[in-house]
Symmetry: D3
Subunit: 215 residues, 6 copies
């Protein structure tokens, strides 16, 4: 029985519970179990780069301490500590922005990202360039919402409007949700817009699942 540890780097247990629900289908009876944990040392929300950097060493310590796990997912769209955790263990470690972009780009040619706000877009763009995917980005467009707001059912109309703009004006043919908290909107959005929509945490956890099943 293999174990995938999905680490929510903020200390908000509600977010962790949401992750567990959206990842439920990736539990494989008798073969692979997904455990979603809260990084209690983390800030309540990760909103600034300082928040992000503050979880880097705790994430590494968690990975080292939890050596009972067979693969790791860092469930924050900024992919904090990803390179460091990869050097700390030879087991696979996945980041949700990286996995989300790669998965979305296997469903289309140009990815459109539904982001929370302009500041997060400004943070993501250099990272996308570092990944080498800058020319495959249709655009990243803001909801002007907080994480909490974006999780609510009431957020759907605005998410749909932003997504439609990405397809119609920016020629995106595959969409990615730019935050760990929007999984519940994934399938309804796909139905409404008619192009594939990827949830990044599901994408990263699926990579982890593949790794442990093939190990």
């Amino acid at each position: 029985m293999k174990r995938i540890l999905v680490i929510n780097p903020n200390s908000n247990q509600h977010v962790t519970d949401g992750l567990a629900a959206s990842l439920e289908p990736l539990n494989i009876d008798g073969r692979a179990e997904i455990e979603c944990m809260t990084l209690t040392e983390g800030p309540f929300g990760i909103e600034t780069r300082h928040d992000m950097e503050s979880v880097v060493l705790p994430l590494r310590r968690t990975v080292l301490k939890r050596d009972d796990a067979d693969a790791y997912v860092i469930a924050c769209y900024s992919d904090p500590g990803l390179a460091l955790c990869r050097e700390a263990t030879r087991k696979p470690v996945y980041g949700i922005q990286e996995s989300g972009l790669f998965s979305a780009l296997q469903r289309g040619q140009r990815v459109g990202v539904v982001a929370l706000g302009p500041k997060s877009i400004a943070r993501h763009l250099p990272y996308i360039r570092a990944l080498g995917l800058y020319d495959r980005l249709a655009a990243e467009r803001p909801l002007h919402m907080s994480v909490e707001e974006s999780e609510q059912p009431e957020a759907f109309p605005r998410i749909e409007a932003v997504a439609r703009g990405l397809v119609e004006h920016d020629y995106a043919d595959t969409l990615l949700l730019g935050c760990a908290g929007m999984a519940a909107h994934c399938k309804p959005l796909e139905a409404a817009i008619g192009v594939p929509v990827t949830d990044p945490t599901q994408a990263a956890t699926a990579q982890a699942l593949a790794a442990v099943l093939l190990d």
Copy 2:
């Protein structure tokens, strides 16, 4: 029960059997079944671009006819017909070069590809550029072997030598096997070299598995 159809575009049943063996761990009891099929209209081996183009429309017909499947994998490293099959169905379709590169790049920063020969390298390079990943390629280096030779246990020493060169001279920190037939060398190579090694068919089928489990 979901079904993933892995299509071997050549008509060599021995290759199909090898794929089935290497993908066995991705069958999930009661939830997802992998079926490896031989494209009987395909050439015995896909070695030229004409071979490759000759399977494009048959692959599309197969995808349309086999609408009992929930996801598709085209198991030829040239990714023939990938864009077309994606337009033929709203179900996900995966190509092994694309999936292999994306998976390998989640285990390191610069991917080294173990290729069969210079001609296949020449074909792959523009495709890698089209994918946007040209700057993340450490190098692609040739075995100077046929598909058949590369499958044999005797091929391992040469595969290991090429892989070591990719790591030591080209600074690759993650490796990808550049053909559908080398899966059996994957784990031994990883053990010998000490950096992650990705088998492309396993990578693509894992993507397909994730898609059907999350559907």
Copy 3:
């Protein structure tokens, strides 16, 4: 006497006749003759990727069968079968999108493409990336017209408006017509806008002419 075979991959003879008229000036008495032929196996119009893929093998067969020709032009802006036909013969084969972009970029620094609609733009963008020219594209903007509509004299005002936008808002300094059927608008558009305008079929046929004259 050399012969250039311009193949219209759709089966619409009216389009072929239009090509012949626009290429008339490239016939060279006693030295090079341009023959425009209709691919009778082709669909009446090439509008989907399936249409496009369906002509790939017929185009190769045509090239092989018509070995009395000295050079070939594939007169569809999607450049179907270009790589394959190039491997089928050592004689030169030209695609109109590729030739059109290269020619336009010899008249300015940033090319603006007048396209039929958003779907064709979405298809062209990855190809432009594959050609390596992504950073030299000012923009590609849609007419929201069919091929037939774009050929009519009545289309000119809209073509002019889109072209003007490419120059004024996207800083294009050279323009390319993004379809085989707009050649008649080429010179009037250049006169109206004041920047060079390239017709892609003329550009490709001119490359073929140079090749046969220099052979």
Copy 4:
């Protein structure tokens, strides 16, 4: 009767005569005439950047003065004054490096350039990046020869050796001669190596020919 003015920016009449011979096939009886002229103000040879810059304003004056011509070719592989001359006239002006690269890339995916020496390679590389073609360059390799040496029949074995290395080690599938003086080696090299070889002055003059025929 249209006139194409091919300007040799150095004052070596022997070079001009060689250009006229290699461009002879592009004269079209009664329709287009190619005139090769020597820029008498130019240095005897263009070897330094100062040589190159010293011909920029004289080239512009020549273009303005010779307004009886319908198109212009600047026959020095450094493309001196190309942007300036393009702003001085609305008639088309072509540079041989630019045209050579674009033509060669219509005969293959990755271009290998046979250059005179390391210094010229160092000058060309940033220009290729400016053209946007950096990722389509297989490599540029030096002959370690002067212009004069490269023109001689005795140079052929070394040219062939460098060309073969570009194909075999750098995976070039199309070759370009990196100097205005090697045209006589073009066809023999193509025969010896078996991949297309482009002479840059012929490529640029062919573009000019197309422009005047279509005007």
Copy 5:
């Protein structure tokens, strides 16, 4: 005592005086002196490419003649003659667009450039691509002003509006003034917008100062 020669390539002494004022803080008592000189052979204003090319050889002559200087700055945003002057002397030579971009990119991830007008933007974009910085440009937006207008205090509101748009709509997090004449707006703009603003002539002269102090 080291000397930095800042050459204003146009013959407008008023501009030279403005440069001297804005560079005053970079004079270092007893160690480094900045001399701003007017290129009397230059046009009164550099507005066209011909203006720009016309100063290339005079700039080189000035650099050679003024060999009492220890470093040189070419104070025109088009960086005329930069490569040539660098080959004319082993002393360092700086161009203000190049230095300005590099300095601005040390204060943020994506640079926004406040340009005079669309024509200058069209000239700058290929140069930025040549520098390799195309993917780090947020955008370049026009004031629709002449050099003279942009220097006036009355220009500030429009400069501020353009700058704000670069930050808010184009996600620039660092700004660059796209002309040698806007230095007086630099600090007020930084105060108004809240992101770093770089004056390009100051940036280039600072590089020159570092070079002479470290020599």
Copy 6:
């Protein structure tokens, strides 16, 4: 009197003393003072990514605590904590790899980096891609030395050999020392090789000096 704080992130006081010596020329009497400090919380040497990440938050704390400084330099070639420190203060913060690359690229077109070993090269390459400068890198070549070894006078012959290879085989025309400890080799190397050589800590401190003088 302005103060530039140069922070050596490792706790080796000997390294800090070396920095102070090499930066001595950038002290400006009565206007700007350079203070080199040792990060006592840092590891004795920064050799792994964990070492590097372990100084990120201490560097930020140091920047916040030392708000008497007017500009900051992080004197480790991996640029640890650069983005974070930039968000922690509105004063300018410089990283030596970033500044070194930008300065070196103002002395030539293609930069060659003399690195300590293959592992550091592997770490630098993605960062160079993130900076957008990948296509301007001639190559990065290893000394196969530790920091300590590279500082010694005995290291010079090997440094010279690697540097010569970068110029002769990789066509570098400007060189950068890839570590904070090689400053003493800078001028002798420039004299020996004949192309400009940049020391990264001097480059970053010069940027800081410019910023405080212009403030």
